[in-house]
Symmetry: C2
Subunit: 176 residues, 2 copies
């Protein structure tokens, strides 16, 4: 379906290395002039890592953005020329030192479509074994293995406070 | 727990009426200087509206940010001096012309903690009856009543492409 808006002009209003703000002048569906700001994000990948023992590897991750500790899955923004799967594989390796026997694409969703175009790509990694991590200086996290049923219960009862991680766990369940 | 980062200075790098970008200079956990950009958002509320007939009211909403149509629940950003519940009640009224017999707070999560501090507050509204809507000119959407089981199936199988709406439906299920 086509857009009910007509874009008249587009400019980058602000930028940082991870995303930028695109500011569009447009005609609203009723024909009147309007403006829309879009946080342009390259998208990101989340991994549900399941060990041969049926455990999910969760991260307890301090996030400067929210000044809070979050239960999360390994995840990261898409780098240039990286597919979502390549990003997922790199994040698994960097954040938990993991390699997986099998990879499955589970689905995707928009994480915050009121302001941003970020697409969250979800992967299930099974047969995951852990090794040395390669955290960046700004990444502060500890690893926790949880039985699959416990991780799913946490996701369904809002105990996983990173929304995309909670939804990723639930979307992966039918593939397990 | 305290932050492993030390904030040295903070400034608003860019702003629009709905959110702004806060740019902080800081010391990383290893003591080296760093910078962090935070999309500062007032937070938002999502409503799971259930009719006396056991249907969920979903929106098929065109989102300019992603140039796509999305399956969503009624939702909106928190206005100044509005609680999450007041915002949920206003959005139900404006977007689907709805009033509810009962309201329950279901939980909250961060929608996109890699870049933003947006908190998604989830409410369940039951006994919902529909009336005239009050859409803004930039809101392009149609209303669809779905049996609860079908809406939950859509949420669990990544057919609800707005992530927070999908997770909201799943979090509300135990309260129904």
């Amino acid at each position: 379906m086509t857009s009910p808006f007509t874009t008249l002009s587009s400019r980058i209003a602000w930028a940082c290395p991870w995303y930028n703000i695109r500011q569009d002048k447009l005609l609203l569906p009723d024909g009147r002039p309007g403006e829309y700001n879009v946080v342009q994000h390259p998208g990101a990948a989340w991994v549900v890592p399941v060990t041969p023992q049926g455990e999910v590897v969760l991260l307890w991750h301090y996030r400067y953005t929210v000044d809070d500790w979050c239960w999360e899955l390994p995840a990261g923004g898409l780098k240039p020329n990286h597919t979502p799967l390549q990003t997922a594989q790199e994040e698994l390796r960097e954040e938990i030192g993991g390699t997986a026997a099998t990879w499955q694409e589970v689905g995707w969703f928009y994480s915050s479509n009121g302001i941003s175009n970020e697409k969250a790509h979800i992967f299930l990694a099974t047969g995951v074994t852990l090794g040395p991590t390669a955290h960046e200086p700004a990444e502060v996290m500890t690893l926790h293995r949880k039985p699959l049923a416990e991780a799913l219960h946490m996701a369904r009862t809002a105990q996983i406070n990173d929304g995309p991680s909670a939804l990723a766990l639930i979307l992966a369940e039918p593939y397990l």
